[in-house]
């Protein structure tokens, strides 16, 4: 099959294409189990295979994909035909940043392939999770396990040939109850990543058990809690919400395709301008952020992106100053040309597609906030006069240029004079992105740092749901509007 694909790539190059790549998925398998109030609502498996072809012709992209490999030539022809039409309306002819040619492979680290684990064992784990959640005060409980395994073979006209095998495990659970005022309250958890691997062995029953007990306890506290006051206070974001804050207001605005206007028809733009790189004070000096696709236990690590560029660990924000972006080969060339200076020295290896039938676009890898020097969570709380500790992503809504946001969290704890005074429900906070990050006054150390995963990041048209990660510490921001 590989030889056949290479032959078709050569054929399109001979017909005038300036670049061609093919991503062949020999297989992509999933297995999902979801138990709702003890009912196994979802027990499913899926499989798919196919090939996606990307063609650059006279500075324009064409793409085509099909699951049937009976006639691969037709897929290549269609991609070229699509590129020819696109070439009739070109503003900035696509150029690709230089890269090395690789003959390489990558396998995500795992000890036990979850697809070799008997279904009975998976069900036993799920039942254990469900039993832990089945406690007084819990009206609805959901426990879920999702497993993914895929092989991707990447070939391009520059001679790269890269084979990737990715395995991931996504556990999650949530509990819901009705509070004293008749309102629904919930606690949910997408497991933080522990250990250094991504296979079945990453599911630690003891960790899940203790976390489930904590969530049920917190839910019961929520059921009798008072409402979050409308106020201006410090907020201390735990990793269970800091990951999403980072995702929405650092990750997305630093995607270079958004900055260049490629997402304006749908996802939106970015308040960041090309002239901001190296100059914009994004946050206080305590803020250092990196895109680290080498973090071994996270779904934001993949060896090579879908341009065939190796995974990297790059600074995005250095002590508060904006220094980098999330980039692929196409966008860095266009950004440098438009800025009339070299902002980017090459692709940061972040061009990814979610499936063989989707085209690669700039996606977050692991967008991590470096741990700080302000100690443990207890240390941060002790230094907080009037604050609210927040955890759990309940809702999130962000301005189209990522310039402002409104978040609701599952739970909050009131802080007065350095002490936790009680649980709060219906907690919300909002702000302007730059003002918010410039109010960052404390960053927890390694003890507060956790790797959280995102399995539902939507972007692009046709839309693509991507998996990635965020390593984040507990962070305190001052003078934030809460309770609206």
């Amino acid at each position: 099959m590989k030889q056949d694909l290479k032959k078709h790539i050569d054929n399109l190059m001979a017909r005038g294409a300036t670049y061609v790549d093919a991503r062949w998925y020999p297989y992509e398998e999933t297995n999902s189990l979801l138990m709702w109030n003890g009912n196994l609502k979802d027990l499913s498996a899926s499989s798919q295979s196919g090939v996606g072809v990307r063609v650059l012709y006279r500075g324009a992209w064409g793409f085509s994909a099909a699951s049937s490999l009976e006639d691969p030539a037709a897929i290549f022809d269609k991609a070229l035909d699509n590129a020819r039409t696109a070439a009739e309306r070109v503003d900035f002819p696509v150029r690709l940043a230089e890269k090395d040619v690789y003959q390489a492979s990558f396998t995500s680290p795992n000890l036990i392939d979850p697809f070799t684990v008997p279904l009975t064992e998976k069900l036993e784990f799920l039942r254990m999770m469900d039993a832990k959640l089945n406690q007084p005060g819990v009206a609805q409980r959901v426990a879920a396990l999702d497993f993914v395994k895929k092989q991707i073979i990447f070939l391009d006209s520059e001679g790269s040939e890269i084979e990737k095998t990715i395995i991931d495990v996504f556990p999650s659970f949530q509990v819901m109850g009705i509070d004293k005022d008749g309102e629904m309250q919930a606690r949910k958890y997408k497991s933080a990543r522990h250990g250094s691997t991504r296979g079945w062995e990453s599911l630690d029953p003891a960790y899940f058990s203790s976390t489930a007990e904590r969530l049920v306890r917190e839910l019961n506290q929520l059921l009798v809690a008072e409402n979050c006051p409308k106020d201006v206070r410090s907020v201390i974001l735990l990793p269970g919400i800091m990951f999403l804050q980072t995702h929405e207001t650092i990750g997305h605005p630093l995607e270079l395709d958004r900055i260049l206007g490629y997402e304006l028809a749908f996802a939106g733009g970015s308040f960041v301008r090309l002239e901001d790189f190296g100059r914009l004070r994004y946050g206080s000096e305590k803020l250092t952020v990196r895109a680290d696709a080498t973090l071994e236990n996270s779904p934001g690590s993949f060896g090579f992106d879908d341009d065939g560029v190796p995974a990297q660990n790059n600074l995005l924000i250095d002590k508060g100053i904006l220094v980098g972006a999330i980039t692929g080969r196409q966008m860095v060339e266009e950004a440098n040309a438009r800025a009339r200076r070299q902002i980017f020295s090459g692709s940061s290896g972040a061009n990814r597609a979610t499936a063989f039938y989707r085209v690669p676009i700039e996606r977050m890898t692991n967008i991590n906030v470096d741990p700080g020097t302000d100690g443990s969570l207890e240390d941060i709380v002790r230094g907080t006069e009037r604050g609210v500790i927040l955890d759990g992503d309940k809702s999130w809504s962000i301005g189209s240029n990522r310039e402002q946001f409104h978040f609701a969290t599952d739970i909050g704890w009131l802080v007065e004079d350095g002490e936790v005074k009680g649980v709060l429900k219906n907690t919300t906070y909002k702000g302007d992105t730059l003002k918010f990050y410039n109010s960052l006054s404390a960053v927890g150390d390694e003890r507060t740092w956790e790797v959280m995963y995102v399995d539902n990041c939507g972007k692009g048209q046709p839309n693509q749901i991507m998996q990635l990660g965020h390593g984040v510490p507990a962070c305190r921001f001052d003078n934030v509007t809460v309770g609206e």
Binding site: N39, L40, K41, L43, S44, A45, S46, S47, Q48, S49, G50, G62, F63, S64, A65, A66, S67, S68, L69, K78, N82, T85, A86, A87, R89, V90, D91, F92, L123, R127, Q140, M176, L260, G261, Y262, E263, L264, A265, F266, G268, G269, Y357, V359, K394, S395, S397, G399, S400, E403, Q404, H406, A408, N426, T428, K430, Q461, P462, N463, I465, E484
Partner: protein, 461 residues
């Protein structure tokens, strides 16, 4: 083509029966085309042809599913999918209820929403459509973005309970056109949803864009003070709100589980304004309907709210099985919601701007990134985007920077609901997540609400 699909489903059914299984087999085929524009160029031109099978195997009160993107010419891998689902069902944890296996009581072929002319739209036509809608509007400062997405979606079903099959095909198109200012960072848009080729009207889009560009270029930009405003929402804003409303509202399963802002006790009561009538209406072709749901139940017009009175909630089969309710024909890929129009004659933006008014009116055509803050309260939030206008009572127009709206559904559709426009439009709510599932909500072109709280106001574009 339908004969091939039906023959394939019958062969798969025969295989399941031969194995002694109780099963349902769902076929989904998409031929998708998408031309995407950015910075006044085509940034991507793509198409995908994908055939999916979902196989559900039932064993008493146990159920398992297998999904595959497969080549229909290769039937053996699909049969292996049936085996896999059967194996999983055997090992599955029993449900506390018995899931209903679909029963198709007659053969159904429904091509009402299929238009062969839209189905055969070419690359050249997609490009010409965009060239036409942008003619004379682009410049060095003003760049065109957008998307022309169209496709054919074919679905079909069979189960082991009968030999009958259901077969549906529809065509759809969704167009978004955006003009964005390169330095000032404002953006205006125009949307169109199509089920047939005759629905495509680039001149209408061009006219809307031209009006908005004129306002954004010539009128002063303002940061709105926080507070309460009389707001006229456009069809996109209300369409997305109605979409979200129905997920958290009159949904039997969500209500039983405590996630809805409505309760069974409210059935038969006046919940919203007498102007608020919402029906799930599978007769409206612009919402890509089917005549039967996935269980084989006939789809009929289903009033949810009549003149503000909560008439009924809808039940999907699995929720109905679990809670002992009667399913309502809503086990579907999507519903067909229609919000009734009112008396206001304004049929386009220029007519709205020309209406006599004794107060300032904030026009918000589109809400970006909506989310539900408090499901029990039915509270949602979202930001304005794309072409908001402040229609001042003195007849002048200003351009507001983006604002945030955080309100409850009751605040929007209750006694503060001032008027609805007579003309309705189909707002396309397709997301293209995963499989192609064209969806649209029919709503009035304009919906006016008093005392809408603006909780955040940007200081620039």
């Amino acid at each position: 083509m339908q004969h091939n699909v039906i023959a394939l489903l019958k062969e798969l059914r025969a295989y399941a029966l031969q194995k002694g299984l109780q099963a349902a087999i769902y076929y989904h085929e998409e031929e998708s085309y998408l031309m995407r524009f950015a910075n006044s160029a085509i940034s991507l031109n793509t198409n995908e042809h994908l055939v999916r099978f979902q196989i559900s195997v039932f064993e008493g009160n146990k159920r398992a599913d297998y999904l595959t993107i497969a080549d229909p010419a290769q039937i053996e891998p699909i049969k292996r999918g049936i085996d896999t689902a059967a194996e999983m069902a055997g090992l599955a944890e029993p449900l506390s209820y018995t899931p209903t296996i679909p029963l198709y009581e007659e053969d159904v072929i429904d091509m009402r929403a299929f238009d062969p002319f839209l189905a055969s739209t070419t690359n050249a036509e997609r490009l010409e459509f965009f060239n036409a809608l942008a003619r004379g509007l682009e410049s060095e400062d003003l760049k065109l973005s957008g998307v022309f997405s169209n496709g054919i979606t074919t679905t079909a079903q069979i189960s082991t309970r009968s030999e009958h099959t259901q077969y549906f095909a529809c065509t759809d198109a969704a167009i978004t056109a955006v003009l964005s200012h390169q330095t000032l960072k404002w953006e205006v848009n125009a949307l169109q949803s199509a089920q047939a080729k005759t629905d495509l009207d680039p001149e209408r889009l061009r006219s809307e864009l031209a009006f908005l560009v004129r306002q954004y270029s010539e009128q002063p930009a303002v940061q709105l003070p926080l507070g309460k405003y009389t707001v006229v929402f456009g069809a996109a804003a209300v369409g997305d709100i109605v979409d979200m409303f129905n997920w958290y509202g009159p949904n039997g399963g969500m209500m039983k589980r405590g996630y809805s802002f409505l309760s069974e006790e409210q059935l038969g009561q006046q919940v919203f304004s007498p102007q608020f009538t919402l029906v799930d209406d599978p007769r409206r072709l612009e919402t890509y309907p089917v005549t039967r749901d996935l269980m084989g139940k006939r789809r009929e017009p289903f009033p949810l709210f009549e003149k503000g009175v909560f008439k009924a909630c809808f039940w999907e089969q699995d929720d109905a099985d679990e809670f002992g309710a009667e399913p309502t024909g809503h086990t579907v890929y999507h519903n067909n919601f229609v919000l009734a129009g009112g008396d206001e004659p304004a049929a386009n933006l220029e007519e709205l701007a020309a209406l006599p008014r004794d107060e300032d009116i904030l026009y918000i055509p589109y809400l970006h990134y909506m989310n539900v803050v408090n499901p029990t309260a039915g509270m949602f939030t979202g930001s304005s985007r794309f072409g908001a206008l402040l229609l001042r009572k003195d007849g002048t127009i200003s351009v507001p920077y983006n604002v945030r709206v955080t309100q409850t559904f009751e605040e929007l559709f209750g006694e503060r609901l001032a008027w609805l426009s007579r003309e309705q439009v189909a707002h396309n709510t397709s997301h293209s997540y995963g499989l192609r599932n064209p969806r649209a909500v029919v709503v009035p072109r304009f919906t006016c609400v008093k005392d809408v709280e603006i909780s955040h106001s940007n200081s620039s574009y």
